[in-house]
């Protein structure tokens, strides 16, 4: 009998031919980028003259680098914990303190990681000097960070980002931007009062320059993913977008992405895909946060000839950044608009428009929507999104209800059965 064994066997239990995903030659360089971040983070925590800040997705990390605050990222470390198979016991630890099973699994993983003091390499996180956050993505961020700031007795600052709902007028969007920019200046006052730190415009411009370079490179990488066969899939991007999360403004991320882009350009020229020649049958869009405890899911799709060629989630971290040559007030306005306008938190009307454009540009055959029990904001409107795509683009859409960090929500048998039916629908649809 054949057994599933890291895609090495020729046939798996379900009778599908196993297909090995080919990773890019420089994919392994990501390890040194992560090590750089972890070591620098440890030093920042240990050295008494250094300051650290917790932050979250959607927060302009460039601000922290410009203030010489090292960004520690609880959410990112939660993904590390899940990938290292630690999230379940950490979540259960937090639930034992009284937190509901229905709350965000990133939050519970991170609270558990802090409480138990597990190693950073397993997803642990150190106490910061400051906690910063924003409600750009969700309310959970500020609820979670506020609780931890209260518990750790650490200063707390949040940017309140008004919602860009469907149909909001340009005039109101401009007023919302005014509000955010005023908070940036208020944050400057807060930093001055709390830490005696002044915003260095020179440092901010330098950080923005590198951040712009980093995000531009990522979008170029995405351009390369339009190629058929696709040279780069979510099996790799789900990890390699890491520098965008915490290292915008640092050279190491730029160097890494230049190598990845070089690999992609070479593979595109050679018509080499992430799957072996002739195996790419279905190009997928995957919406939502991956199942971090089960990253093999992205590799498992290969055996059906399916490649995830676009993820709004990883793309969200690469909005075009403002030119470093802009006066600071204009740069602030541009950053404020980015915070309101991330693809991950697009309103429903814009989300439908965006997805349909991507489906055309990336020659997408089917869409998987991760209805994430830990992320209600991202799951809101998914049913309408599905209906619109099926109606306008005539391709199958699969809604998978699961969780990004809590393996209790992932039930392999039912999920893979649904995936197999989805594959069959795509096959029929392509005839």
């Amino acid at each position: 009998m054949n057994t599933r064994n890291d895609n090495h066997t020729k046939e798996n239990r379900s009778g599908q031919e196993d297909v090995r995903v080919r990773v890019l030659p420089h994919a392994g360089d990501l390890k040194s980028v992560m090590l750089y971040y972890l070591i620098k983070g440890k030093l920042a925590v240990k050295l008494p003259w250094k300051k650290t800040a917790w932050t979250c997705a959607g927060f302009p990390v460039e601000f922290l680098w410009a203030y010489d605050l090292f960004p520690l990222h609880p959410e990112n470390m939660s993904t590390v914990a899940a990938a290292r198979k630690q999230s379940l016991w950490l979540i259960e630890h937090t639930e034992s303190q009284g937190y509901s099973r229905d709350l965000c699994s990133y939050c519970k993983t991170s609270m558990g990681a802090y409480d138990t003091g597990i190693k950073t390499t397993l997803g642990g996180i150190d106490k910061p000097d400051l906690i910063t956050c924003t409600n750009t993505i969700c309310d959970t961020h500020w609820k979670w960070f506020q609780i931890m700031a209260h518990k750790l007795d650490v200063p707390f600052y949040m940017f309140d980002i008004p919602k860009w709902v469907s149909g909001l007028s340009e005039k109101r969007i401009e007023a919302d931007i005014d509000y955010i920019v005023e908070q940036f200046y208020d944050f400057a006052d807060f930093m001055q009062k709390t830490f005696g730190k002044k915003l260095s415009e020179r440092k901010m411009k330098k950080t923005l320059k590198l951040s712009t370079e980093l995000t531009d490179l990522w979008r170029e990488i995405y351009e390369g993913r339009k190629a058929i066969p696709s040279p780069y899939s979510a099996a790799e991007t789900s990890a390699s977008f890491f520098p965008l999360v915490v290292l915008p403004g640092k050279k190491i991320g730029v160097k890494f992405y230049k190598k990845i882009l070089g690999d992609i350009q070479l593979h595109v020229a050679e018509k080499k895909g992430t799957l072996p020649e002739g195996k790419e049958q279905f190009r997928l869009l995957f919406e939502g946060i991956p199942f971090w405890y089960r990253m093999r899911f992205m590799f498992d799709l290969a055996k059906y000839g399916a490649v995830v060629t676009y993820e709004p989630y990883t793309y969200s971290f690469s909005p075009p950044k403002p030119s470093p040559d802009l006066p600071i007030d204009e740069a602030f306005r541009a950053v404020a608009k980015i915070m309101m306008d991330l693809p991950y938190s697009y309103n429903l009307e814009r989300r439908i428009e965006y997805f349909e454009k991507v489906i055309d540009e990336y020659h997408i055959d089917g869409v998987i929507l991760h209805e994430n029990m830990s992320c209600r904001p991202s799951s809101a409107g998914m049913i309408d999104l599905k209906d619109a795509i099926q109606r306008d683009k005539n391709i199958p859409v699969l809604i998978l209800q699961c969780d990004m960090n809590d393996p209790r929500a992932f039930s392999e048998g039912p999920i893979m059965t649904r995936v197999e039916s989805f594959i069959e629908l795509m096959r029929e649809n392509k005839k």
Binding site: D102, W144, I147, H150, P162, S166, A175, Q183, S379, A380
Partner: protein
């Protein structure tokens, strides 16, 4: 012809006085527990706030009775549900009111701007004039209601007033025409003031957590010999704990009021929320505290551990539980509540 403008407010964030000043009746959408949420289930997953789903269901069924709907920024439910409402609720007027989460001077300036924008939009949409004088009148009316509710609320710990009766007067104040509400509240004050003293067999509790939108749950507490004598709910004391100040500019009055109401879990300031609960407990002697969380209500679920632990540290007796969104009596919960009352 309808005179109602309905609003979706997950806490007490929306300045309903502007609707009154425009000559309409503000109506807070609270859903109907007795109607199935199936219409909402068509568009929202099963792990979304059932109360917010019930509000959506009510709006689908009743929007033609209303002049329009305003959705106020509150929690994740309000923010992301707006788009679904825009797609599926048939109404001539759907407006997003973006109140700030914070309460500092920057937020106050933004809030004032949002109120001005709301006034201009209502004037354009309904060809009405919302003068400062109109707003002052609406504020005065609002304060008349709040002060009467304060009086009624204070009677809860002194007289025999059922939990349902209290919830009824608050819900009526949130949904009915304001002058009629004042008359009804005056009658209730007369009635409640002459009631028998607080029943000897009942326990006095402070109720905190998610909002209660249906009477049956309050009946369950009564059946367990529990009387809610204080609370910090939006369909409760948060709505009338303070009065709207009388500033030179009535919009400034509204800004000061709404940014200053006792903090719900949907707004930053967990320390302020705890301080408020402690103040309430100092004001009124309570036998215990009930902290309840509606299934999938995230903001209060996050707060509950910190808030409850702090209250317990101050030696208050407290029970915490999650409840389903149903009018049906939950006997397991009644057992827990009865056991709790025995410890008081």
């Amino acid at each position: 012809m309808s005179t109602i403008i309905a609003y979706f407010d997950s806490s007490h964030d929306f300045p309903e006085e502007i609707i009154s000043a425009a000559g309409f009746v503000p109506y807070k959408i609270l859903g109907d527990i007795h109607q199935t949420n199936e219409p909402a289930d068509r568009y929202m997953p099963n792990f979304f706030c059932p109360a917010a789903k019930s509000w959506f269901t009510e709006a689908m069924a009743r929007s033609s009775e209303w002049k329009g709907i305003i959705v106020a920024q509150g929690c994740n439910s309000t923010n992301r549900h707006f788009d679904i409402w825009k797609m599926h609720i048939d109404t001539p007027f759907l407006y997003w009111f973006n109140g700030p989460l914070k309460d500092d001077h920057v937020a106050a300036k933004f809030f004032k701007n949002e109120i001005r924008g709301l006034i201009k939009t209502l004037e354009d949409q309904f060809s009405c004039v919302i003068s400062n004088e109109n707003i002052r009148e609406a504020i005065s009316q609002s304060n008349a209601i709040k002060s009467r509710l304060q009086k009624l609320s204070s009677l809860r710990s002194e007289r025999d007033i059922t939990n349902r009766e209290y919830l009824d007067v608050v819900i009526n104040a949130l949904q009915n025409e304001k002058n009629e509400t004042i008359t009804a509240l005056d009658l209730a004050i007369r009635d409640w003031s002459n009631r028998a003293p607080f029943p000897a067999g009942k326990k006095k509790v402070l109720l905190t957590g998610s909002d209660i939108t249906y009477r049956e749950w309050m009946d369950t507490l009564d059946e367990c010999d529990i009387r809610v004598v204080r609370d910090d709910l939006s369909i409760g004391e948060r709505y009338f704990a303070t009065l709207i100040p009388d500033n030179e500019d009535p919009i400034d009055s509204l800004v000061a009021y709404y940014l200053g109401v006792p903090k719900p879990a949907t707004k930053p300031g967990i320390g302020k929320r705890i301080d408020y609960l402690m103040k309430v407990l100092r004001e009124t002697e309570c036998d215990g505290i009930i902290s309840q969380n509606l299934k999938f209500c995230e903001p209060f679920a996050y707060d509950s551990v910190t808030v409850n632990n702090t209250l317990k540290d101050h030696h208050y007796k407290l029970i915490h539980f999650e409840r389903e969104f149903t009018p049906v009596t939950d006997h397991q919960m009644m057992n827990r509540l009865t056991a709790f009352t025995e410890t008081l």
